[in-house]
Symmetry: C2
């Protein structure tokens, strides 16, 4: 049987520990090609590079896996995988991550990791983004690798509708404390951000974004609930953002 073709990207860049954790989890299940940003690109959402020339280079080749890095965003990396590196080949699965940090609730919209997965599903590939609830640079990926190894072959075997990306978040606890897998919906919430003013060396004001996620939901079918109760959260995400529930109530008069 033909090995599945798996394209891997991330938003933490080519040196991230989580990238190598994802390769470790996926390598037995297909032919792997890695295309990742040449630096940290967290929080860039679905950004594409329109104003700058894009470049790509092969920076590593190991165990039959080619690793490319680009000066583009995670979404640009997926386009490079689809249109340049794997041009004319069907990509069975696009994986992104393993992100250093949660992508639950509305973080999904800001996430470069999930944007890569979402981009991946546009043209008929299965897609999943993995995130570990640990922002640390040297986070321990033992539990995450174990869970990803269980899930990746199941995703490859699953019957999924087209244009669906799975948003998979994994609690940072020892494996024996993981209670199982929950299929979840997106938790209602927002980032209560602050723009903290500071002074630079020349006395000019600048700002850093800081903040925390506000859970407005607290329901058992949500990703946040699953994660705080030590479940792996698997959330199907769609491209269609239409608010169908309010279409009928909208009336805008013509002239």
């Amino acid at each position: 049987m033909k090995k599945p073709l798996i394209l891997i990207s991330n938003d933490d860049g080519f040196e991230a520990k989580g990238l190598y954790a994802l390769v470790e989890a996926a390598k037995d299940f297909g032919e792997i090609v890695v295309v990742v940003p040449d630096r940290h690109r967290s929080g860039v959402g679905h950004c594409i590079t329109m104003d700058d020339p894009l470049r790509i280079e092969l920076y590593r080749e190991e165990d039959g896996i080619r690793y490319y890095r680009t000066n583009g965003t995670p979404v640009d990396c997926i386009k490079f995988g689809q249109k340049v590196i794997l041009r004319d080949r069907h990509i069975d699965l696009v994986l992104s991550g393993i992100n250093h940090g949660s992508n639950s609730s509305v973080s999904l919209l800001y996430s470069g990791t999930m944007a890569a997965a979402i981009e991946g599903c546009f043209e008929g590939s299965k897609a999943a983004g993995f995130s570990l609830l640990d922002y640390a640079y040297d986070a321990d990926f033992t539990t995450a690798i174990h869970c990803a190894k269980k899930l990746i072959p199941q995703i490859l075997a699953a019957e999924l509708p087209p244009q669906i990306a799975l948003n998979i978040n994994i609690p940072q606890v020892p494996l024996n404390e993981i209670k199982g897998v929950k299929i979840t919906r997106q938790t209602k919430g927002y980032w209560a951000e602050d723009l903290e003013p500071r002074k630079d060396a020349f006395g000019r004001t600048y700002y850093w974004i800081s903040g925390y996620l506000v859970d407005q939901d607290h329901k058992e079918d949500c990703c946040q609930w699953a994660l705080t109760h030590n479940y792996v959260s698997v959330q199907p995400v769609q491209i269609d953002m239409t608010a169908y529930h309010c279409m009928n109530n909208l009336k805008f008069m013509e002239e």
Copy 2:
């Protein structure tokens, strides 16, 4: 009666003709504050700036309207409006645009214009992004201004559910050819992009993103249909990206 407070942003930058078109359309309906990027930031999606210090400056004050520009993304601009410039005030309406170019179908996900509107609706403001189907730098905004002037007071008066942003696209035709307003859903589609290789002055390869939108839908209730038939498309957009229709079919075995 208290004047509504209206925050305006865009993704085409502080000099864009479409920005001044939106101010022109909105200025009679409330107190206006403008916070926009200091350069062209199209296609940056929901990107936020996490790795660089953010700065903001007042660059213009005219007819009682303050105009600020930042080195951040459209979403950063909304955060500056909410957390710094208008801190502790309720923003009634966040407007974004008028974008030079369509944001129909899946362009919604790449759009900085719509990301600003979506960010705007997170914390209880009404929100709408306006886009004109004309990418030209010096596009004629006559029809778009007329339509926006009709729609903005209706949006202010409308009863909308929380956390909804309106994605409003306006055909580039003379006003008398506009057939009316249609409430639409997001057209199924994707960008058939190519990464075109070129050589720089040193013989090294670089790439530009180019492409076109593929309509996979062609239905009468979609934004693309409305726009190609000279209707203004008003599309309610939600933050929740959960694919509810496939939640029940997903099964991932535990250990």
